[in-house]
Symmetry: C2
Subunit: 187 residues, 2 copies
DNA sequence: TATTGTTATACTCTATAACTATA
DNA sequence: TATAGTTATAGAGTATAACAATA
């Protein structure tokens, strides 16, 4: 459990009963199960991408020319700036992104995606789409849409409640990459 | 990213567009967002429980008298047996569970919840229930039920696809506690 | 003096392997 | 010889702090 008293899905109560496996009633556990399945597919897709999911994030920003400087990118994605250095080292070594001098500030580097990187990103996106569809496969058309809609409504609220949310921060937190200044000591 | 090319939620494509923030279409990201919100609440609930979410799992098993021996418990929950040792040390020190000699095998220990542990568990369960309800608050009655139902259907399929799934394993994997024999090297 | 990016150090957590005691 | 549990060691990953170049 990385830094915080890391939270989790679990299957809940049944006030005292010995047979403690009421999967149906446990929302958190079900969420975890479904999310994990998505993570697995997405993970497989990004398995050989340097930096994994975070590498994907960076690549996507770079490809959209949203990246800006290294620091800005790190802040936007909620990645530590020292980690960003390693991440970019790997992505650059793989020929997917490049660090270019910022004409306005000689300290800063602007991050851009190479052509190879853009092609790679497009391929990744296609595969991720497929993974999503695969996840929803058990639901038929109308149910699938209903689920999407309800989930998005929940997600909207969740995001409204703490707005400082980038996809990458979600990854980091959910995935156990710690948040500064906590530390449980639970071993 | 702990051991595997750890997967993640991300917001997807928009084939090339610079404004890359199509939250609505990204299932994985939405899932991550919602799940994280649950993790936060659940994490807060278990913040001062030794072992965090895994401690909860162990406590729940012990309280249900399902625990059996230490090894059996570890296997059932998908926890490494060495980790189980530390976990139980902490829980025992906190007076929540006890290791009792197994009458049939003097090597083994049977794990049971103390009275304090049972009370604590009941309180935790109540709070977790509330956290669940809070998560679903944005949906009204029928929508809430619909969401639960759809999610459980997906979860059922997910579980069917890899049956060796305990709640604790889900925690471990989703949360970044690695799975043996992988290692990306992505830094 | 403050800031961008890099490098080095410390800390947390997990897994692997060695060890003790029973079987 | 194999198994339950414990302890010790090493590896992966992150954050913290010190550093160089520029503003």
């Amino acid at each position: 459990m990385s830094t915080r008293g890391a939270p989790s899905p679990r299957r809940p109560p049944a006030p005292a009963g010995p047979d403690h496996h009421a999967l149906d009633t446990d929302l958190g556990f079900a969420l975890g199960l479904v999310f994990r399945r998505y993570l697995r597919s997405a993970g497989a897709v990004m398995a050989d991408l340097p930096g994994g999911p975070r590498g994907y994030q960076v690549l996507a920003e770079a490809a959209g020319n949203n990246a800006g400087t290294q620091l800005a990118l790190a802040q936007r994605l909620g990645i530590d700036r020292t980690v960003m250095t390693y991440l970019l080292d790997d992505l650059e070594r793989a020929g997917l992104v490049a660090r270019r001098p910022d004409p306005a500030d000689r300290r800063a580097r602007r991050i851009v995606a190479t052509e190879v990187g853009q092609v790679r990103l497009a391929a990744l996106d296609r595969e991720l789409r497929r993974a999503e569809e695969h996840l929803l496969a058990p639901l038929d058309g109308p149910d699938r849409e209903a689920f999407r809609e309800l989930l998005c409504r929940l997600a909207g609220h969740a995001q409204a409640l703490d707005p400082a949310t980038s996809a990458c921060q979600v990854v980091a937190e959910v995935t156990g990459s710690g948040c500064p200044g906590e530390g449980t000591g639970s071993r």
